[in-house]
Structure formats: C-alpha cells, structure tokens
Symmetry: C2
Subunit: 197 residues, 2 copies
Amino acid sequence: MSRALDQLIAALQRLPGVGVKSASRMAYHLLQHDPQGARHLADALVQAVDQVRHCQRCHTFTQDEICDTCADPARDDGLLCVVETPADQAALERTGVYRGRYFVLMGKLSPLSGVGPSDIGLEKLLHRLQGDAGAVVREVVLATSFTAEGEATAHVIAQLLKSRGVKVTRLARGVPVGSELEYVDLGTIAHAYADRR
Amino acid sequence: MSRALDQLIAALQRLPGVGVKSASRMAYHLLQHDPQGARHLADALVQAVDQVRHCQRCHTFTQDEICDTCADPARDDGLLCVVETPADQAALERTGVYRGRYFVLMGKLSPLSGVGPSDIGLEKLLHRLQGDAGAVVREVVLATSFTAEGEATAHVIAQLLKSRGVKVTRLARGVPVGSELEYVDLGTIAHAYADRR
Ligand SMILES: [Zn+2]
Ligand SMILES: [Zn+2]
C-alpha cells in the first residue's frame, strides 16, 4: 500500500509484545489521528538512545556518570540491594522501607535465552564489592524475581558473594511465588523486605 | 531516573493500547537490547508522517496521488466496496473474491467519540459517485464491521446512496465458516437464519 507505511509497521513490531495487527493499528492511529505524536515519539527515541547510558556504579539507566540514587549522600552505603530491572527498583523505592544502595542487573540469568553472568554485570557487582566502596557493605539483599530464572539468578549471586565472605539475604517469600516484583502490591513487598533472611 | 527515558516512556504511551507498564517495558527493551531498532523506528515514524497521505480517490494511505489499487486498470470500475480501514481492505483482498474498487472510510461513525460524517469522508464518497467515474458504478458493497458502530455507519451510507438511486448491498451476516453452531452466539444464528438463501 505504501513503502513508508509498510516500513513503519515493520519497525513497530520490534517493540516487545507488538505483533503485526497491533503494529498496523498503531501506525494507522498515528498517521490518521496523531502525526504530532509520531514526530514526538521519533524525537524521544533518538534522544533516549543518544543520551541514556548505564550508571557506572549500579548499572541502571541514567544520563549522568552516576545516577541520582548512587549520588544521594543520605543513603546507607552498608546495604546493597540487587534487582533485575529499573522497574523493580522503582517498586521497592515506592514502599519507602529501603534506604540503601542498589545494583541493577538489567536482566536475569537465562541459559535457555543465552543470558549468562557477563550479560547481567556480575563482574561489575563483584568488582564493586571488592573495591574501597565494597569495604563498607554490611549486607547484600537479593531482590530478584521469585520466578525460576529469578531464583536461579539469586542462587548464583548468593554463592559468589558468600564464597567471598559477604553477608547475603533474600527478600522473604511473602512475595507470591511465580510473580514479577514490578506487579506486586507495595504492602507485600514491604513485608517481604522486613522478613528478609 | 533520566529525563530522556521518562520522556520516551511518556511518548510511547501515545500509542493505542500502551499504558505506563508496557511503555516502560518497551523503553527498557529498546535501550538495553535494541538501540538500532529504536533509531530505525524513529526514522520510520518520520518517513511515514512525511510521505504518507490519503489517496485522492479511495481515501486510503498512499505515497502517491492515487493508490495502487485505484490505479490498477484491471479492476472493475462498476463495483465499489466501502470498508472502515486499510486492514479491512487487506482482509477482503486476501480472499481473492473481490476485484472492484474501494472506498476506505478510515474510521466509522461514532457519535459518542465525536466522529461524524465529515470525519469518515462521506462527502468525498458522494462526490465520487456523482462525478464522471460515478456514472459507471453499478453497485456499492458495504463491508463495514458488524458491530453497533459499523452497522450504524452502513445504515447511514445506505440511506444516503439509496436516496441518490445507487444500488447498495451489504456483506451477509452469518455463521463463520468452520465454526460449530453450538458455539456461535445466538444473535449470529438468528441473523444467519433470517438471511438464509
Ligand atoms: Zn547508580
Ligand atoms: Zn485509492
């Protein structure tokens, strides 16, 4: 029907969870009702890809060398919480019970999908715990998802850290098994934090 | 966490069916795993908005004055099929049973959403049937959706055209091919009975 339209529909299908039908609906909507939104999205995509990088300390997305959370002087350097994604970190932050630092894996171990230890920054995590900053870390709290892959990831990290004499805890199983942290209610997350083992 | 990332998440929510959670997942995915896909999508959005316009004859999306279907000399000018969207047109094309022309409403009447006759190009449709080209149209086939809004749209168009002496038909309602009667809704069965041939 139109090369540019076909190409837009194809490009939209690179978004996770978007098949050819949703991509078509999105393209028709933008062209018919929101060309300004389409231009705005194009700008936002380029800006984000150009400007967003990983925090040198915790690995999350930021536009600076060090993210706001890592730069915050009011946080407890003795606590380090390991999460899978920025969304998981945001969920934990919203509970208000945790005031330590974070390490964001930006993924989880998944042998079947070819995601290994180097893909989730485990060397960076070890390096951090071994350097000067690492000397003050009293406890690493593992807050990966309670899915098979999240548990396996927590297990691997726990083994690595315990063999280096670091105290490791895990969020309590108050979090419903099989769910992803991002979608869990705040009270459950708060209790799970209090009952961490 | 990052202005550019927040703005990308906001911009993605202008896509139909995308809320804040899916938008976040999409943004994280693009930044973490597919920055090339993000740039590609940005280009495709700008290209489509710049290049895609409406066919002067049938109203669908095209990059030319007249779309390929309208320009095809092998099609029957005596048949004009009215559909809601390019996706509906594509579905009918895939059946291979129809070789006439199209008029694409690019929407349907929806008083509650403020979509009136001028928003779905009805003047353009009437104009087309009154001009030189219109002289040869033997039959207009209404192929709008069998939803309340699609039926209302078909009804309004049928009234307009019949008052001008144009022969108007509607796709038959009935039991979908391949389905067992037991699982078909009663309204469909009732219509299939009434329209039996
Ligand atoms: Zn950081
Ligand atoms: Zn056309």
